[in-house]
Symmetry: C2
Amino acid sequence: MTSRDGFQWTPETGLAQGVPSIGVILPPTNILSSSALYDVIVIGGGYSGLTATRDLTVAGLRVLLIEARDRIGGRSWSSNIDDYPFEMGGTWVHWGQPHVWREISRYNMRTELEESFDFSHGVNHFQLRTTQGASTMSHEEEVRLDTLLASGLEKFVNVDGDMGRKVIPFAHDAFHVPEARLYDEMSAQDRINIIALSLTPNERASLESFILLCSCGTLATTSFFELLHWWALCGYSYRGCMDALISYKFKGGQSTFAIKFFKEALATGRLSYAFNSPISSISDQGDKVTLTTRGGRQYSGARLVSTIPLNVLNSVSFDPPLGTQRAAATNIGHVNQCVKVHAEISSKDMRSWTGISYPFNKLMYAIGDGTTPAGNTHIVCFGGFNNHIHPEEDINQTKQAVESMAPGNMDIKRLVFHNWSKDEFAKGAWFFSPPQLLSTSLDAMRARQGNIVFANSDWAVGWRSFIDGAIEEGTRAAMTVKEELQPAPALRSSL
Amino acid sequence: MTSRDGFQWTPETGLAQGVPSIGVILPPTNILSSSALYDVIVIGGGYSGLTATRDLTVAGLRVLLIEARDRIGGRSWSSNIDDYPFEMGGTWVHWGQPHVWREISRYNMRTELEESFDFSHGVNHFQLRTTQGASTMSHEEEVRLDTLLASGLEKFVNVDGDMGRKVIPFAHDAFHVPEARLYDEMSAQDRINIIALSLTPNERASLESFILLCSCGTLATTSFFELLHWWALCGYSYRGCMDALISYKFKGGQSTFAIKFFKEALATGRLSYAFNSPISSISDQGDKVTLTTRGGRQYSGARLVSTIPLNVLNSVSFDPPLGTQRAAATNIGHVNQCVKVHAEISSKDMRSWTGISYPFNKLMYAIGDGTTPAGNTHIVCFGGFNNHIHPEEDINQTKQAVESMAPGNMDIKRLVFHNWSKDEFAKGAWFFSPPQLLSTSLDAMRARQGNIVFANSDWAVGWRSFIDGAIEEGTRAAMTVKEELQPAPALRSSL
């Protein structure tokens, strides 16, 4: 099955829109005849919506899942090309991420993970380029660069003499210490300015590229607090960051995981669904909520779970309108405009390679991520808003940006990508906060409004921005709705 | 409500059995009249059984929960004495423990945790005594002792030059690298013998007491592999161990958490239960499973989830009998004979104190754990099988062992404890494996047998022995049973 989403380029076929995915659902619509008024309507088939849908249907409620796309997964989905999964969005998971790991364990997929990194090939497995000229490092230097990245990050986060532990002692309650809010007034740039004298040029380049890999905004639009929060989530160490952020992925791709939620919900016999159904408006009439699709269809439910992402929320009309603070937050939006480009290249040695090309290049950070069935190396490259491109608009510029990550070693056989910035149902990649958004609006983003519960990783409290946060939020929404629609029965005792 | 479990001693009352707990369930029996043949019988109201019961009742199945005790929680429960919770068994949780954290998040208890440690009082917050003579350390030494504990542990686990990461790269799939099995042939004593020359006497004493705090067996009966597994779970660092093992607990006590599962199951209207109902036999007749209580009552279900702990499993008669390997494992048993004694003492400064008294004392490791409403300091002390006592048998000996942890600073106002070794429904504390048990029998312990599914933290694959592992197992059991009893209905489409 082929999704409309995503792009692929090969020398033979050129650029083509749409890539195959097991996350595409056929038939695209399945409306159970008995469902005039649903218990719950869930908008969005990403992990938040899938989790809410599954939990609610399993708990006995009749649910309608509405999705604008032709597939599940939202900002996390994989394309299977020649039996090899390319991750179009969210990719990596870790057992220290509680919500996603609980699901991986529950679906018995614990042994279906593999490491992205494989340092058993090649020689130069870490390359830092700060100008167009090559600066390949020797093995000894490369070990030092890992230390360099760690030491740059430690200087960056060490605001309290205890590596941020005093400021954020509870990673899942990040504003527990009120002082933490002060760091949300600051941007990453502000913090770098403070520690600038203590950073060597290479330390600073690698630190900045790592920060931009996290936020995919600019240094000035990246909340320093949110970076501290990520650091706390990762156990306050560079090694912890690498482990949790970019190491472990599904052998079969994200969509092999997402489909489990969907199938479990379907198996209850209580799931109706409609894909290809973008929403135009949502009206909460007090006794029920009615949504209208762009195509003019209407559906009603006693409750509605909206998993519409922050950056898209203001494209849907709400009646009554969104609360002031939520409306302000969605108009500000998050700053992540990640450009993620997969390249299949011929060099086998590049499997062990990691590279930073910053700040001059249109892509800045890349790692060897796998070996394809054809025996080619799969490289995944990241860029962001600081040097933004739309990769499908000028494919030669995109190829050049990939090649410039490791000049002479990038014999490109295939490119695969999803332009999240131009995706009207995402308008960006994973959530990353600008300064002040979280300290002013997190509570407002999390608040319910009448019969509508808002659930999205964008406003999770733990692994916000991650798949884990999406599942956290879907779980929360389902729990909220379930408790309201299933009041506790009186105890009947036969004794 | 007062449980039969546990003991309390004060100078005024002397020793008394039974302590109050909100985990005691009244009425103790609630059998729904419609339930002649249950869908599922769950044996055991610890976290495994509570999780399975909740998941199955929420999913629409009619469940009977049978429990030998008068309370929920199994080996994790809290006693509220004068509005202060003493943790009688399993206590600490962490957000890196996925199953327990998912539940804490789901029940919105994320902000109901607090830290056991509080270094804002007193002066000597780390005391190492290796002989009866006092050896209080200065603040400078104490920082070094923390380093000492870390360095001892690092020498202990560093079998691969990468702190155990190569041997156990996947903490939740610990036998992923076949070589890991070799370390299950070794005891902690074997490993210490290998590195003995590299350890200073104080390093060795603190390392040994830490190991015995983990296993509460003897060094010779403690699997080295299982310690490596704990180390991997804790993120391969001493700091990670302290964070995950002994830092964060519920402000209101474990039973405030356990009761959430029970109440959610009860609210479905599909839960029958019977406390005070020890089992004598279980018979799987193919079309159903029938259990018989010691009191002669019989109950039948289509499936049965047994959460009976490993050390107790051979006290119940199974027909057909337990498989050979499982029977062998239960006859071997695990080695944890933890002695956990809470002491309320008058010194406020002791709130900041941590002490090791090893190997001469009947208790070996203690920390300041809280301040009681009376303004006293709450100290929790640990002992194990290496120097075993039954604390209620000779209360003066027990008091002496507490006093000897910090001579002159232990003005005891109250003692609270649960003797897990003499508890016929536990026969020990949290699971800790002797050498060879896991590599030979983990799969057998996890296997189902006909209509009986076995679920217990004792054979979890992730945080085995922890509350997290219990929830992991309860989740697995519920998923297994649910999938069998609720076959997927055919898709009905009105399109």
